[in-house]
């Protein structure tokens, strides 16, 4: 009688074992390898690479082989939910839609390595700083994907969409209001935006209230995309977001155009024969959403030529694959730990710093907490050095403004302890935990965002780091806080929070305004000072059209915050792109990214591992 039972168990067991065995040849040895495997080695698998010794990763790859005629590029987009599918630059909200649109693109400008607008694209920009005017001029002969010529009306239309009173997106903001007449138009008192002046069929002149260097990054209210008047011009703004022109068949300017959409799951593109730079070499592209849990296996199986939004913590799962090259580039991102040293006064709409009465008011305490963090080990073990200890609040990608000479808070527990001792945080009652300067118990409440299992381990590790130097840090609310709740609490200066761990994606304009100014709600640590405020203001002032001046101000900003340590940078990160060996040429360098119409394939199917 028992026999059958054991048979069933045996079957179950063998199923699990088969599964485990399927996984890989190096089963069991994987963990014994030194954890600091030199990740550069993987990239050398590529036959020919462009060398850049300062980077961990290659930014481009060229695979040998005869390019095939046409072909369909298979792209996997890592995402655990369906995409939203708002294919309109004025209305979209998340990065995934923007990524899907990047294949079709309506961008007027191209950018250089510093993310400044160039004149290489469809349009060119001419800024008249004296008169606060900018002139946008488009090339002649550029056509929409349906063959209709691009006109300056198509450039003007987006302003009237964003400025419209029925517009529900986030882009009608203070920057947009910098355009003269935008507010009147939004209020409904004007038919059009008076600051927009059509010079001729190819030229637009825009008048601003004030200009700053941001305009060269597409800021100050300048809009860098076109919208097809002949398709969306007649659709009321309120109905635009649900219209087919946005959801199903947008007319575009890019190398490819949308052919079919399975809502939320995949988009297939075909080449745009009217593309102004010439007909693309591929026949088309298919982008599919891949769940994060299965993406590594899908890559190994050769399901995709290119994978985007690949999480660096999964690096280990793909680093030994032989059917791909892994490209990487620094991201426009930094994570940080912030200390609450004040409150936001909503009546006066400004930050009120109060070092005296804040638990985290001691500069030594803050600095010591920075030195106590072994971020280096976390970067190495969990991120395979795809993240690195950040020394500054400006990512190094912004070469002109990044201050590479800053030391940052490298791991140094002795120094941390010394600082604490010096500042009077000593263990009075002998329980191994330091009391504050007055000998009172010190419990520091840290708010941290929830994430995957790795995130939990990391936070636990950091708490441990602090405990090792005698600081009692506990989690606010007793657990990691879910994203929405986190920002809700941090922004509301919740008393449960003494310090918090956040991250910012900087966008292409590294200006600290909005995050560190005295009127900024997102200045979460609530720290401001004369030095800081003047630097923040100066960075976006007209004087800063002088890049040296601007860089100087950035330096002041970075150094000041390093010293007061109200916001300590934690990590910069790399984004990585697994690229199948079928792709002939691919480059992700910000300055010199592959023109997508030139991508070629060397085989009929992606290479499987």
């Amino acid at each position: 009688m028992k026999k059958s039972k054991w048979l069933l168990f045996a079957a179950l067991f063998s199923l699990l074992l088969v599964l485990a065995a399927c996984s890989g040849k190096e089963d069991g040895t994987a963990t014994e390898e030194p954890a600091d495997t030199d990740t550069e080695e993987q990239a050398e698998g590529a036959e020919e690479t462009t060398e850049d010794s300062s980077e961990l990763f290659e930014v481009s790859v060229t695979n040998e082989g005869e390019a095939i005629e046409g072909g369909i590029l298979q792209v996997g987009m890592v995402k655990d939910e369906p995409f939203q599918g708002i294919f309109n630059w004025e209305l979209y909200e998340d990065a995934y839609d923007s990524e899907l649109m990047s294949w079709t693109s309506n961008a007027l400008f191209e950018t250089d390595g510093d993310f400044m607008l160039t004149d290489e694209g469809i349009a060119s920009l001419d800024v008249d700083q004296e008169n606060n005017k900018a002139t946008v001029k488009i090339r002649e002969g550029v056509k929409w994907s349906d063959g209709t010529p691009l006109t300056i009306e198509d450039v003007i239309l987006p302003y009237h969409i964003i400025g419209h009173k029925d517009y529900t997106g986030v882009r009608y903001d203070t920057q947009f209001q910098n355009i003269i007449g935008a507010e009147e138009y939004h209020a409904g008192t004007a038919e059009t935006i008076s600051g927009l002046k059509k010079i001729d069929d190819l030229t637009l002149e825009i008048s601003f209230k004030q200009l700053s260097p941001s305009i060269f990054y597409g800021g100050d209210g300048l809009w860098t995309y076109a919208a097809p008047v002949h398709q969306v011009g007649d659709i009321p703004v309120a109905e635009l977001i649900e219209s087919d022109a946005v959801r199903k068949n947008p007319i575009t300017l890019g190398a490819f155009k949308i052919d079919k959409i399975v809502p939320g799951e995949s988009v297939s593109y075909v080449k745009n024969e009217h593309y102004w730079k010439g007909e693309p070499k591929l026949d088309g592209v298919v982008v599919k959403v891949v769940p994060s849990s299965s993406v590594s296996v899908a890559i190994a199986s050769g399901d995709y030529d290119l994978v985007t939004s690949f999480n660096a913590t999964k690096m280990e799962e793909i680093q030994d694959l032989e059917n791909i090259n892994i490209l990487g580039r620094p991201e426009l991102y930094y994570s940080y730990v912030g200390f609450k040293v004040g409150k936001f006064d909503t009546t006066q709409n400004k930050v009120v710093t109060d070092m005296e009465n804040s638990k985290m008011g001691s500069q030594e305490l803050r600095q010591a907490m920075g030195f106590a963090l072994d971020i280096e080990q976390v970067s190495e073990v969990f991120y395979n050095n795809l993240r690195e200890r950040a020394n500054s609040l400006i990512p190094p990608v912004f070469e002109s403004f990044y201050d590479g000479e800053l030391n940052g808070y490298t791991y140094d527990p002795e120094k941390a302890e010394a600082l604490l001792d010096e500042a009077g945080f000593v263990d009075v009652d002998g329980d191994g935990i330091r009391e504050d300067q007055n000998g009172e118990k010190l419990e520091i409440k840290l708010a941290a965002m929830s994430g995957d299992a790795t995130q939990e381990e990391i936070i636990a590790f950091y708490l441990q780091n602090w405990a090792d130097v005698g600081l009692n840090v506990v989690l606010s609310t007793g657990r990691l806080i879910e994203f929405n709740a986190f920002y809700d609490m941090v922004q509301a200066d919740d008393p449960e929070i003494d310090m918090f761990m956040g991250a910012w994606g900087t966008g292409t304009n590294p200006s600290p305004s909005g995050l560190y100014g005295e009127a900024d709600q997102y200045n979460f640590s609530r720290y401001t000072s004369d030095v800081l405020q003047s630097a923040v203001v100066a960075i976006d002032s007209p004087e800063s059209f002088d890049t040296d001046f601007r860089a100087e101000q950035f330096k002041i900003f970075q150094e000041h915050l390093e010293e007061v340590a109200t916001t300590i940078p934690m990590q910069f990160r790399y984004e990585i792109f697994p690229v199948n060996k079928r792709v002939k040429n691919y480059n992700i360098d910000y300055a010199d990214a592959t023109e997508i119409h030139e991508i070629e394939l060397v085989a009929d199917k992606p290479v499987a591992n």
């Binding site: 599964l19 799962e317 939990e456 441990q464």
Partner: protein
């Protein structure tokens, strides 16, 4: 005379209540597998609690040691380590202890409340019954998993206690329904009528007369609830709504399987915990099945 009485009462004791412990005992003696399950279960539970309380320093156990990330089973870690370099076997023991304590708490809370409501409704009927039945109907039809998830995101301070309360809020209804229907049929029996006519007050009737007659069905229900409650935390952990990080639990260990690398290569992180749950549930179910047979004469083996 006195001696004789004593002897008699002893003799009688052996063949006393027909649906009591002895039937259960007899049932277990007949079903070797259930007996085996019961012995193993009891041994494992005692062992786990003993081990967890006397041999493991939880703070030490949960200390992250990055260099030991995914250490394979071997000398240092008998069953390997997870991605924080924490010993798996220790986590299974403490996790099992936590999961069981949670399951027991939920089972007891829902059991007591459900029995109370069920008895009151079944015995008194009328508007009490009507009111609770509407509430129970309501709970049965609502998508409870969804509401549990919403609840968990709402609670400001998420602790084990909060978790137990939220779960209990949604899980008492089935016990209440079962007890109600049984209490209803019991309270229509003449011995209850007799008690009423003999002037016994209602609450005494409920506790002394009806409750003992529902004991076997309640034992079965609680056993199966316990099995169900062990599993419930696992699923929530997977969805990311499980217990706080500092509390090791079987669910957290199992939900590591979500990571394909762990699923395939670092089987020791999730498989032992999964098998532990599997065997524990099997044991409980076999025990529960024997109990159920004991309670239902038609299916009895002996």
């Amino acid at each position: 005379m006195a001696k004789k009485n004593e002897k008699n009462s002893n003799v009688n004791h052996v063949n006393s209540p027909p649906t009591g412990l002895q039937v259960i005992f007899r049932e277990f003696m007949k079903d070797k597998l259930a007996m085996f399950s019961l012995v193993v279960l009891v041994a494992v539970i005692i062992g786990i609690f003993f081990w967890a309380y006397f041999m493991i320093d939880q703070q030490q156990l949960m200390r992250v040691s990055l260099r030991d990330k995914f250490a394979a089973p071997g000398d240092k870690f008998l069953l390997g380590a997870d991605q924080g370099g924490k010993d798996i076997i220790g986590q299974i023991v403490v996790g099992a202890k936590n999961s069981m304590l949670i399951a027991i708490s939920i089972t007891l809370i829902t059991g007591i409340f459900g029995i109370l409501v069920g008895l009151l409704c079944g015995y008194f009927g009328g508007w009490i019954d009507n009111m609770f039945m509407r509430i129970i109907d309501f709970f049965i039809t609502i998508p409870s998993l969804m509401l549990i998830i919403v609840f968990i995101t709402v609670v400001p301070k998420y602790t084990v206690g909060a978790f137990i309360l939220i779960m209990s809020l949604f899980l008492w209804t089935s016990t209440a329904r079962l007890v109600r229907s049984k209490a209803l049929s019991e309270s229509r029996r003449d011995y209850v009528h007799a008690s009423k006519t003999l002037g016994t007050n209602d609450f005494v009737i409920i506790v002394r007369e009806i409750l003992p007659n529902l004991s076997s069905i309640i034992i079965v229900e609680m056993t199966l609830n316990f099995a169900g409650n062990v599993g419930i935390e696992t699923g929530l952990s997977y969805l990311g709504f499980g217990l706080p990080l500092s509390t090791p639990s079987l669910g957290t260990l199992v939900s590591n399987a979500n990571n394909p690398l762990v699923l395939q290569q670092y089987w020791w992180v999730w498989l032992p915990a999964s098998l532990f749950i599997l065997f524990m549930m099997l044991g409980i179910n076999y025990v529960g099945q024997a109990l159920r047979r004991a309670a239902d004469s038609r299916q009895r083996l002996g």
